[in-house]
Symmetry: D2
Subunit: 463 residues, 4 copies
């Protein structure tokens, strides 16, 4: 057997002539799936070693195959791998190169295997590795948030609902909300690989005496997949993992939205460093939070990739279909986008200054009425039903609004006119600091809670 066989000849022996260029272009996926070279070779080594253990291949052949595969891996690692124009995908490229390097024994590697189970295995291995990388990067962003909260967490600012100032909160409480959300996102991108497809063949198993538990274990899966047809037909794992990535991207998009608001002149709560700010081609004064805007928008790429991964499987009969090849372009687009978003978020959080004065001013602005709830709660403690208290304070706000002053600026008599339960003690809760100190129920933004939560996260992240 000649050493210099083209990868497409491995598949097209029976066909007259080559593939039409248009077909070749849409069919060829090497440029997309080459990033799975590590997983492809890892899977092939496990497969060959199992074939050796089961005496399907000789020990000598397995030695040569493994050595050859490691040589191919080295070529990818150091950038010297030379793709052949005929390499249809990463799987055929590796096998073609292996045969070039070691000859006939290379042509034995595909024994008891099909590209269908091979690619399904590679993909799940890739998800495992991607999971680890993604989680590590999420932790970096969580760390950046925690460090900011350690530094500036006790700054007081309004908490917003409907983008209207609602109640006082602490900056650290806001930052830790993102830390919690990212913590949940870690769950969504955790993928340990339950079932190993290798050994499912084209989808109908194999008659070789293979040991699927051997390969499953060698590749770090819990067990072999129990049904060969399911194993080659399903891209469920990739779809659900991408949903997890979409959730993380959504969290980052919300952080981006907050950063855009905070760095506007109108809010003025934060200023991004020069290194994470961009200028304008025409307006020399501009400091644009482009990165934060791209966080907002890029999440829709990940969500779009998720949708594609579900849609390409929809209405597809079982068995392998080429439609499934669309999986990787979608997955990798989600990967590239999310990892880039994590980089950008970490960079921006690492170079941001907060303006505590502007934040505090927003809380104490007389027209904000962010302490109205405190007054209602004060009445409730004194026995007034909540719904009545809510109404009473609504009337106080109306009076204050009419005079363009804060509730706290109203004289006691006005309080007492709207409800006779009021006395001078009410003014004690009418400071942001007082209100916040009182919000010590679990989960609330009291300074004490913040400090405890900061310790929790510092511990978890090993800071």
């Amino acid at each position: 057997m000649a050493k210099k066989r083209k990868a497409d000849e491995l598949l097209r022996g029976r066909f007259a002539g080559g593939l039409h260029p248009a077909l070749d272009r849409i069919n060829r996926s090497f440029e997309v799936d080459r990033r799975m070279w590590r997983e492809d070779i890892e899977g092939s080594i496990a497969h060959a070693q199992m074939l050796g253990a089961k005496k399907v291949l000789s020990a000598a052949a397995v030695r040569r195959i493994v050595k050859g595969l490691k040589a191919v891996a080295d070529e990818f690692e150091d950038g010297t791998f030379e793709p052949d124009p005929a390499d249809e995908d990463i799987h055929m490229a590796v096998e073609r190169r292996l045969i070039e390097l070691i000859g006939d024994d290379g042509a034995r590697l595909h024994t008891a295997r099909s590209r269908n189970d091979q690619v399904a295995t590679d993909l799940r291995l890739y998800l495992k590795h991607l999971s680890q990388r993604t989680i590590a990067r999420i932790h970096d962003v969580q760390e950046a948030l925690v460090r900011l909260a350690q530094r500036d967490g006790e700054l007081v600012l309004p908490f917003y609902t409907h983008l209207q100032r609602a109640q006082p909160t602490l900056l650290g409480h806001v930052l830790l909300a993102y830390v919690e959300m990212l913590g949940q996102d870690v769950t969504g991108v955790t993928y340990v690989g339950e079932e190993c497809p290798l050994g499912s063949g084209a989808g109908s198993g194999t008659s070789f005496p293979i040991d699927r538990r051997h390969t499953a274990k060698a590749l770090g899966f819990k067990r072999p997949s129990p049904n060969s047809l399911e194993a080659v037909s399903s891209r469920r794992d990739a779809a659900m993992f991408t949903a997890g990535m979409a959730a993380a991207a959504t969290t980052l998009s919300r952080l981006g939205a907050d950063l855009v608001l905070w760095t506007s002149r109108e809010f003025g709560f934060a200023r991004l460093g020069d290194a994470v700010t961009t200028g304008s081609s025409i307006m020399p004064q501009k400091r644009n939070p482009d990165g934060a805007e791209l966080l907002r928008a890029a999440a829709t790429r990940v969500t779009g990739a998720m949708t594609r991964l579900f849609e390409i499987q929809r209405a597809l009969p079982l068995g392998y279909a080429k439609d499934l090849q669309e999986d990787k372009a979608a997955l990798f687009e989600a990967e590239d986008t999310l990892l880039q978003m994590l980089d950008v978020a970490e960079a921006m959080l690492g170079d941001i200054a907060f303006d505590g004065d502007r934040m505090h001013a927003a809380v104490t602005a007389p027209d904000g009425y962010v302490l109205a709830t405190e007054v209602a709660d004060w009445l409730v403690v004194r026995g007034v039903p909540f719904r009545e208290a809510h109404e009473v304070v609504g009337r106080l706000v109306s009076v204050a609004e009419a005079h363009h002053i804060g509730i706290e600026d109203l004289p006691l008599e006005v309080f007492q006119q709207v409800h006779d339960a009021f006395d001078a003690d009410v003014f004690e809760v009418l400071t942001p600091e007082g209100a916040l100190a009182a919000r010590k129920a679990l989960g609330g933004p009291s300074p004490a809670n913040l400090r405890r939560e900061l310790r929790k996260w510092a511990g978890r992240l090993g800071l």
Copy 2:
């Protein structure tokens, strides 16, 4: 306090006049979220009892509130609840009715609570219940599949790749592939509720001395959510749960696609019963698998609902925003669609007959060449490298195709002309039954494997 207060007055005391009808229509969600009445009342009872335990409300008030809430629940249960046109949503409807029933104490229920934490809690409770219902229905479909596989599982049919006949398989292997996929889908719709948002207030906690562990435990959550802002801002759980529903819907859509093919005259593998077949308005002979087609198509509704749940959160600053109200319409659309799909799948699987003769004929048709892989493997066992064996058999197929016969119809001499390793033993693997018996590696479609897998699933499903 008057008994007959409208729900909107609970919110709009300070405003002049009512809400504009257009705003009212888009704002009012009662018709959508009324299906959460059970969860809303369950959450309110837990809240009231906790307030009692913490002496925020008197024991007597709590008794009256709980009794009143149960009375409201009874009204919903027996269909006598009368919505008021002013009921903005299920939460205000229940509270309005409670106040009507028990007066002032009803107005105390909302103490130390906001609609923001209330709705977040209700939604997670709803997901828990929906999870249980969905899993039960998936089990029903799995059972229908297993029963079919028990009945007809050893029928032989082609396994397809690219919708081309590839290799022999067993009908039971195909049916169990769906059972496995649905088993994975169960994982995706399993929701136990980790963190309870109740007590997060509008998003900035509360100053009342509440006990959030008490309510979390009473409602079956593992713990209270640790950050009040996260708790009210995030619909992550609903989005990820809907992704799990989309995965299950995708599985069913594939089953629908297989059913459409199998019941076509061209395949002719199956015939659906009259009760699950529809006719034509114009063609009297038609037996249309409408249900299977709707399985194919309806999955895109669930996927669409999932996308919406991610998109409404994208680029939204933290804090509650009304955008989040869009969550329930999307979630409920996914719920209704998926549960209906499960019903349809179970019904169709319960009334289907397979045509074993047509299936077998498709495997043994001389132009199918579904045993070609067996010949290649036969050579490999005799020391021929797989890639060479693949080529050799490709040549045999070409010869057979030219004569319009099967490989098994070629004389031995032809085999030996293309490779001298052939001898008469090769004909032994050239039967579907022989090929299938040999596919006994774990996960393959050998009859022995099928029987073992059927026992496994019968045990799991308690059949």
Copy 3:
């Protein structure tokens, strides 16, 4: 023939027993498509009259059919139509009722027609009517915007890029930007109906001597569709029309986003009236722009409906498939959402007050530097290359920032230190009014342009 035949018997004569309830539920679309009753009856009348003209039906039969159909229409119009539980869809419901009313001649209506061409025709007629209604409502919103611009259009506020203050603009210019966008959106929802499917039968035409030009003309189409298979297989028109609706919804979502910002305390540019503002269940001071937030979020429903209309057609072989029944739920969801959004937008724009002082203050705030571009342009006019001018002004901004003052507050010497082309004339462009007056190139926000554009739109909208 009995008068009281059930609609499902019209289809299921050959089948044993009724349809399984689960199939029946997913298959039955009457509750969804009943809103097409007008189009269904209109199409049937045209069909019957054509059959009469071609002597396929007798003149007497046609008279009775038309009279009967008008009676059915009256029942729908006045709400007395009684659906039968067996009515599968609007088409069978109308035909069933017609047969009840007029007997055997009713059973002749479906001659030379199939539900496939019938529903395709109804749908396109519906799009035509929906197009007219949508355009009328868009015009209403445009009118509301123009009236606001007429009232307050010359208020000065910052134009933003990246949510950073960029340059001065006029409120009227912003409002008219929305008017222009909605004007383009009108194009996207304009649907006149080119080709009439009626007469395509199930998809393979008919052997009756029908006159398709007659029905096409009677129903207001330009011509009959030229290929019966295309006619029944395609939902392209509905998909593209929904894309047009999605574009309009996107425009409104952006208006919603601007309203949310403008009504925040931080911006403070606008205050919505009480009738279009909602309160909080817990915070008595809140004035929440719920309607604007729902405009933001609801657009994703329309976009989702659009995606579904494309996806249900994807990968579907030609010929009618039940998958296509999913079209109407998606279309109607888009319709309901968009029309509701238009109502909400009109209501909010009809009850909004702008705060010209807050807007002007945002333009003149010393830290806004919204006039920096004017200085650069001033230099360019004096021969400085733009890129150099841009740099020069960047340096001026840096100096001013360091002193927390505006550029206009810098002494002339500072100007001259950074570039010797400066003289005292530069201060003339350093007012918002001066800058705006100069932006008189076509499309710019000069007051003169605004007045001309207002006249243009007042004319177009007939104000």
Copy 4:
């Protein structure tokens, strides 16, 4: 001014230090938008010439600028353009290179222009060019379809509904259905460019005395855009154009679905040539229609790109935001996918053989009953109400089914038992050829209609 200024310095003069690498990566779009070099230079030439005509720039400067821009264009054309790592996007790259080539005058080009109006203009110019290229490729696919229909159009095959054989049709009728659909798709991707954004500046116009009608005309637009804010804020054109591309991709996906069915052994209607068929890594006999499967699946990429283009604009306040930069990645993904799909479709249609015998056998198979409608229509012509005729024939089918024969094989007595209007003439319509010849109503699949439609399309496409 130094010749070798980096593009990022054109923007960042005021900032300390460079951009953070993570921000730089997400912000830099050169690799994506470089494909707009032609449009960028075309727009810049028109802008410079207008500035010259208006005496804003000297004639000499304009000459040098235009000459320099043409030199840059030559570099792109012949592949010698050397990007600088600091080139943020195609616009800055061209301007940077221009300044390198011609010095200070290059720095004058950006006078009275911003990247915001520049990119909006480039994008619309790009859409115009893309429209032309796409339409030309659609015409090629239409031509391939028409040529096939000319060759094999009169082959008879079943028309399907619900993938059940329904009625006879002609292959040419099916192929021309796709031609019609693609003809409608041409409408969706027709883009002539109504309004030219150039001269809108950053979004607030310019104070330079520019002539926007001049540039609009020079660039082939109908008129300048009337509102500078709308001009820079909207990506509506790109979104709607992508919807048009999604519709075309959907058409091709359906063709792919038909090809997958037709080339299956079960249908056996067509055989793809070797050059457009792929093999299996393991099954030597396989002839896989990968291209057709990818047509099915790839359409979801285009639909996904469309969704992204709508979603990135949703809820975005007016004014330029960096979120809009996501537009081009989405548009170009749609472009690449659709154009590749068109190539693949043309290639497959150019190398396909149909099996008229298999098709005809599917029509005449006794269990297909594709002529049942003819019998019903035969009765209607003789005065039987259609609904009654439908029932009668349903009964005939039941009898024939029970005997496993076709309707045409039933003796006349059986016909007459179910309805006394039958006589021997009924057998005349019971041949596919007879049925097809009768379907001569406009749009139906009679051979005469087919020939007329083929002449129509041959004329339109200039064949």
